[in-house]
Symmetry: C2
């Protein structure tokens, strides 16, 4: 508990474990806020708290996830990530070795994206009042292009592109958490998409809207966007890429992969004419190797609607689930 108290032990925790890893001139200001200068006027701001269980999983850990999630939220607004904040809520007794590993993972992920963690906070709660570690990150990104990337830009005729195969993150977490072992190679898709998106924007490819497919998966992301844009989307189920292992796990567990969380996968709404070129660029990048054209924005629709043509040839309307099939997935 004393590590959260603002005294000598907290100083030690910061100066030996956290600051050496994140070190950069802005963080090292060591002031209540960090002061920085930006050259352009258009910025994006986002935040997420991460409560995933387990904190280490095939394909990542809570630190990597906490950085990727916020980088991706910035990227979905067309912003290039600049600065991150990082705040830990530790449960009394959380192993310092685990904290070190998580902090190193955050730093590596942020550095790889060219972003810096420049301000932070650490709190400690009593045993039994937390769950090991919760992490909040907030992020500031800069928008240097003139495209408006927003649900309201979605329009009839747009192609709907899925950036990669779905449902890996949720299934990887589920199997790890429940200790289910079978012969599979499922790892989370937890990845930073900001470089990929920046690259698309630099190539001047038109993008109307982006959305990463976290909690609630592909189906929830599409429903939210259909509602926000007041459009109808038609999706072809057979075009949605899913790894065989992931599909098998979904079948065994009775889960619908359309609603399973991803952490490195997004949908892109683009002018139909650019579909082939967009797919070519995406498929050339390992992070979006399985990119597919999965559907079309067909019409305006009062409340928004997503209908899917199933493998059997029937049509069904996708609905939001009341909750989440897998809690604490991020």
């Amino acid at each position: 508990m004393a590590h959260g108290g603002g005294g000598r032990l907290m100083q030690q925790l910061l100066s030996t474990i956290i600051q050496p890893e994140f070190t950069n001139p802005l963080l090292n200001q060591n002031h209540d806020s960090t002061v920085f200068t930006v050259n352009t006027g258009k910025l994006a701001f986002t935040t997420d708290s991460y409560v995933i269980n387990p904190i280490f999983f095939p394909g990542g850990d809570i630190g990597q996830l906490a950085v990727c999630g916020t980088l991706n939220d910035l990227a979905m607004s067309g912003a290039k990530p600049l600065y991150l904040s990082c705040s830990f809520i530790l449960e009394e007794g959380f192993p310092i070795t685990d904290l070190k590993r998580i902090v190193a993972s955050m730093q590596a992920t942020a550095a790889h994206a060219g972003a810096a963690i420049i301000t932070g906070d650490t709190k400690v709660v009593d045993k039994g009042k937390g769950d090991g570690i919760f992490i909040n990150t907030a992020g500031i990104g800069i928008i240097t292009h003139n495209q408006v990337i927003d649900p309201k830009q979605i329009q009839p005729g747009d192609s709907i592109i899925l950036s990669n195969d779905i449902a890996r993150h949720g299934i990887a977490i589920m199997l790890e958490r429940e200790g289910i072992r079978f012969n599979h190679k499922i790892i989370s898709d937890c990845n930073d998409l900001s470089g990929l998106i920046t690259n698309l924007l630099e190539k001047a490819l038109d993008i109307h809207c982006l959305r990463d497919l976290t909690r609630g998966g592909l189906a929830s992301g599409l429903i939210e966007l259909a509602t926000a844009s007041a459009c109808e989307f038609e999706i072809l189920e057979k075009t949605i890429p899913i790894q065989d292992d992931v599909q098998s796990a979904c079948d065994i567990l009775g889960l619908d992969p359309l609603y399973i969380a991803n952490e490195g996968c997004c949908v892109l709404f683009i002018p139909e004419a650019q579909t082939a070129q967009m797919l070519k660029v995406l498929q050339a990048n390992p992070l979006s190797h399985y990119a597919r054209h999965i559907g079309t924005v067909t019409a305006k629709h009062d409340r928004g609607r997503v209908s899917i043509k199933t493998h059997l040839g029937s049509h069904r309307v996708l609905e939001l689930l009341s909750g989440e099939q897998l809690p604490r997935i991020c």
Copy 2:
């Protein structure tokens, strides 16, 4: 748990409880990040998580605290708060009525400071894996003046001004948490100082450094600044304002008020020549009515040092405590 799952229940929670309260055009973008434009290039960025127990206390609640804390951190860098993020970690079963009250309190506090909550997140953890509610806020502020407010600006000769009486927040929490009842009027000093600081800067009063005195109290704040500036501070104990009730509670409980947390109190390092004028301006504001000149920066000192002349006339060197006398104070 379903309220954190990204499905219909989470949408409901957001659209009925949280968004109507925080509503503003930027938040209502409803995108992964919120996009905004600033006119000047110099910004400040900060974050804190709040895990205070109890969440409602005399003089405030966790929502007001979470907003004031981040506003104050921005103010301590000389920044005028613009935008806040807000992220909740709720424990399964947390009462919606309490959440409503907290959200309303956050909105009122932010609005009073002229700041807007423009992006956010909600997670839910299983019963027994959290403690009711934890809140993270991050904040962006804008710096429109040319003063550099930083520990490195502290120099020998500076006057050290304390903005108000100390130790109210920590003692109010302690008494409430432990159910200690005696005839007192102690309420937390939880307050937003950003208006006060902006006013000082607009009056072109010189400020070398500011620090709000949260965890670890006045003593820890001074020690941190002495270390960061490599200076020696000499403090006169008899000049430090403490309410009689607060002093009595400290005496009974065996606590040193110098180390007790505050949430609406700061120290200011200013040129000696401006001492009288600064005190006059501060004392005219109810938030700093008890402002006092409590000491002086006397010399450069290798590792920094804070010495205090006690009520008895002896001198002692202040040291960081190893932890905090009162855990989960913010």
